[in-house]
Every structure is written in structure tokens, then in C-alpha cells.
Subunit: 314 residues, 2 copies
């Protein structure tokens, strides 16, 4: 059942999946991705078991798999088939997981709880966590390079986009570095905060939606529209993350809440106050939906995903 009808929204392109539909869709992607990751990652019984156990601990913790879901939702909106999307979806999850493992290290954000479990270095030691993250990154690129369902020219394009989104100066590593630099001083403004988040989480989220569209053979204007949507979605995700850090429990989050405030970290609630931060989330949500209007075809799952992120409680 689609939530919106022509009468309500004016155009078929604005059709949105229901909350139940998008939840079922995400669950299907999660189960497909987790089964494929299980095949891609060496078993714990394979030496060196320390690294494979650490990888599996972090990768198979309960997780939303937002980036794989975006790869699928964007790809399937333009007609790509699941078997052509699955490895790319896994690659984004591998990169995301490596970044969590490294970001949680004592020298970085020093977190002890992640995805509802002790963090990788708490459980396996710092050396194993560093190596697990390093291996996850290599495996991400290998997974796309060896995807026999895709033309090699598409594979190199995907690898290039993933590497740029993961690295520096425009990607995730750059965002994390800027975040750490900002923590070391006072007076981070709203514009800088947004720039940090656009790199730290936005770049990979935007790239995952672009990657899905790329696999489907979408036109460059369609790619641009989807990427704009995903960049807003990434920002929305970050604002709601900041809000949840203030309002949610550790049990709901699967990580330690209240950490930002204790670290006097620049966040949306800290910068604007709780109500204005919520208002900002709503505004960014509207921008994400507006970006989809430019796609020119129905994107019911992408629309529903934006609402899901806006209204998430964990």
C-alpha cells in the first residue's frame, strides 16, 4: 500500500511507501546483505582467527544497514536487479564498518559501546581492531573489483566513487579529521558543523545512493538528483543522531548516549537548542524530498526512507 495518492500529492512521482513497506524492504535488504557478507568474510576458524573474529564481531552486530538499503532503493528505483546491486551494497557496509571500528579506538572517539556490544578494541584489543578495520577496507574494494555481474568500466567507476567518498580531501576520513580538529578548539559554527557532517557521514551515504543509480544505468541528471537527495538524507541522519544523543537511552541506541554533551562537542542541539534542531531536521527532510521531485519517476522507497530517518527513535 502506498501512502500517497494522486489526489493527496498531485503527481505519481510523489508516491511514498508506507512505514510498513519500507521496514519490510529494509529487512529484506539486510538479510540479503548479511548472508552475502557471511560468504565474503573468512570464517573465525580461518587463521589469523583474531582478525576474522574481530571483523565478524563488528560486522554482524545488529545494524540498520542504511547504506546497503540506499544502494538497493536507489538502484531498484531505476530498474537495477538485486544480483547486480548486492556486492556494491556489501562494499559500502564494509567501508562503513571499518570506519566505526577505527573511530571507536581510544586515540579517536574512545567509545566502549557500539551496535549494542562492547566495541571491537574493547573485546579484541587495539591491534586486532586496527587490523580488522584495515582488512575491511581492502575487502570492500576487492568485493567490487571481483563483481562479475558488472561491466569492468562500471566497476572502476564505483571503486573510484567509493574511494573518494571514503578518503580525503572530500570524504569520510577528511570529515573525521576535521571533527577531531574542531573538538580541539572552541567556537565551531553551524556552517563548519554542516561541512564536517557532509564529509564524515554525508559523503558515503550520498555515494551509496549514487552507486545504486550508477549500477542501474541512470542518466547523469538522475544521478545528480539522487545524490542531492542522499546528501540531505545523510545530513538528516546526523541531525537526528545528535538529537538522539540527547533524548534516547543506551538500550535504544546501542551506544553510549550523552557523550557529545560531556565532550562539549559541537552538535545541532548544542548549537541551536533542541527545538531549533528539530526544526532544522524537518527542513532538511523537505529538501531531501524536493531533490527527489527532480528525478521524474516514482521513488516511493527513497521517500519513505527519508521519513523513516526523520522519525527514527534509535
Amino acid at each position: 500500500m502506498m501512502r500517497a495518492s494522486f489526489e493527496e500529492r498531485g503527481t505519481e512521482a510523489a508516491t511514498e511507501a508506507t512505514a510498513e513497506e519500507v521496514s519490510a524492504y529494509a529487512a529484506r535488504v539486510r538479510s540479503l546483505v548479511e548472508a552475502t557478507l557471511d560468504e565474503l568474510i573468512p570464517a573465525e576458524t580461518v587463521e589469523p582467527s583474531s582478525v576474522h573474529a574481530a571483523i565478524r564481531w563488528s560486522l554482524f552486530a545488529p545494524a540498520k544497514r542504511l547504506r546497503p538499503v540506499l544502494v538497493f532503493a536507489a538502484g531498484e528505483a531505476f530498474g537495477a536487479r538485486a544480483e547486480s546491486l548486492i556486492r556494491t551494497a556489501c562494499a559500502f557496509e564494509l567501508i562503513h564498518t571499518y570506519s566505526l571500528v577505527h573511530d571507536d579506538l581510544p586515540a579517536m572517539d574512545d567509545d566502549e559501546l557500539r551496535r549494542g556490544r562492547p566495541t571491537c578494541h574493547v573485546r579484541f584489543g587495539e591491534a586486532a581492531a586496527i587490523l580488522a578495520g584495515d582488512a575491511l577496507q581492502a575487502l570492500a574494494f576487492q568485493t567490487i573489483a571481483e563483481d562479475e555481474t558488472l561491466d569492468p568500466s562500471l566497476r572502476v567507476r564505483l571503486i573510484s566513487e567509493l574511494a573518494r567518498a571514503a578518503g580525503t580531501p572530500e570524504g569520510m576520513v577528511a570529515g573525521q579529521a576535521r571533527d577531531l580538529e574542531a573538538e580541539a578548539r572552541e567556537g565551531v559554527g553551524g556552517e563548519e558543523l554542516e561541512l564536517i557532517h557532509r564529509r564524515k557521514t554525508g559523503a558515503l551515504i550520498a555515494a551509496s545512493a549514487r552507486a545504486g543509480a550508477l549500477v542501474s544505468g541512470a542518466s547523469s541528471s538522475e544521478l545528480e538528483a539522487v545524490a542531492r537527495y542522499a546528501l540531505e538524507l545523510g545530513l538528516l541522519f546526523q541531525i537526528t543522531d545528535d538529537l538522539l544523543d540527547v533524548t534516547a537511552s543506551a538500550e535504544d541506541l546501542g551506544k553510549t548516549p550523552g557523550k557529545d554533551a560531556r565532550a562539549r562537542k559541537a552538535t545541532y542541539p548544542a548549537l541551536y537548542g533542541l527545538e531549533a534542531a528539530r526544526e532544522r531536521a524537518r527542513l532538511v527532510y523537505e529538501r531531501a524530498r524536493a531533490a527527489l521531485d527532480a528525478v521524474g519517476r516514482p521513488t516511493p522507497m527513497l521517500r519513505a526512507l527519508a521519513r523513516l530517518v526523520l522519525e527514527r527513535r534509535a
Copy 2:
């Protein structure tokens, strides 16, 4: 001037470059690679400067560039042109440098001196060193993915081989993990030591020679012969590394000598004694040369490189 003549070696295929020739060759590759890396890496003035400064500190320290030299020597032996080899050569150096930065971290080998300089984390802090290593790895794969001189199908093959050589269970990360696991217990034997080194340094060194041959379009039997050579060369490099840790000065090495013995680490001299370790180096050197005999065409630089590694003093 070639050292060997027909009379001395019996076949043209056994021709070997002189020490001067191979030194000049390596110097040419080094300067080409360093100039290209300088173009590939964002300037220190580009934000986040902490990461770019840390990357440049580690990457542009004086170094032998053994892996790029192998890419070139193997590639040019089979007729590849420099412009088709240069990005692949840089990618191997980027992976190698990321591994040095991460291996030197306090939680890993805890080293303070590398390539004649304070290690990356000593100079820039642990967080910047972790991020610099992560960014270097992403950049390595990006560099091959965006190599317009190579057919996309060749690029994905190179990325797959590089990722496997860098990761787990057969590659560098697996070797480093096994090495750390072995340090934690007594009684590492010769076979296990060799297995560790084949992964920790051998896999990437072998892959660099294979990559050069791949770019040149060498046959699969030629690829195999070159890979066998390079695997022995990697092992030779490790044995001479162990020997130099006992016999060389910090000034010559650019890193702290005597560390292995203090850490009671399993090494070739510790396991076999100094003389038997030297004998082993000579044996592995002969195996490397024998592997080249199977190539069936002159490989004067590859032969001379093996001798250079056997006789190296730093």
C-alpha cells in the same frame, strides 16, 4: 654494461645488470614515482591539513621504493611502457606506506623511528596517524581505478590482486596479525616464521612484480615465474632485514636496530644463528634467480635487484 656474458652464464636470459645500472634504474623509478605521488596527494594547505601533513611526512621520507621498482622492472622486462606502470607503482607504495604508519602505532609494533624520521604518530599524534593510513589505503585503490592508460578489465584485475595482497586471509594484514599472535607466545618455528613473512611482506612484494607483468600483458606462465621470483625476493628482503637489525646502525637503517632481540622476537638470526641465517639468505637468493630462468627472456634488472637485496647494507 651488463655484468654477465654468454661465456659466464651460458644463456642470454641470465644476463644481469651491473650494480651501477640497477642503482640508476631504481633512482629513475623513485624520482618518477615521487613526482607522481606529489601530484596525487593533496597539499598540506588543503584541509584537513593534519591528515595531509601526516600523509606527506610518511610518504615522502627517504625510501627505497622497492615495490614501485619491482612494478617497473617486471613490467618493462615484458615491454610495458612507463606511463602505463606509474599509477600502479604508486598504488603499491601507498599501500606499503599505510602499512608502515599503522604497524608503527603504539598498539602494534610501537616504533618511534622510521625512514630516518620520528614515526607518524610520534610527530602528528595517533589519531592523525590512523586516519593518514586509512586515507592512503583508499587512495591506492582510487589511483588504479582512475588510471586512464589501462583497460578497465585490467584495472579491476590489478585492484583485486592488490586488495588480496593487502588484506586477509592471504595478505599483509593476515601476516601482521599472525606476527602479533606469535609474539604473544614462545616457540615459533622456522616454518611458521616463513609463513608469517610470506604474508606480511612477501604477498605485497610478489603482487607488485605480478602487477608489472600483468600491465605488460605477460602470459600466465610468465606471470607465475615472476611471482615465484618476487615471493623469494620478499623472503630474502625479510631475512636481510632481520640480519640488519642485528648488525646495522640506526643511522644506516633509518629505524631503531636491535629491537627484535629486545622484544625476543622470532627472527632468522635468533632461530638459526647469524651464519646460518646468512646461508639461508644465499639459498633464497639462488631460488629467486632460478625462478627467473623459467621466464625465458632477459630480466637483467630483476636479477640485479635480487643481488642488491642480498648485499644491501640498509
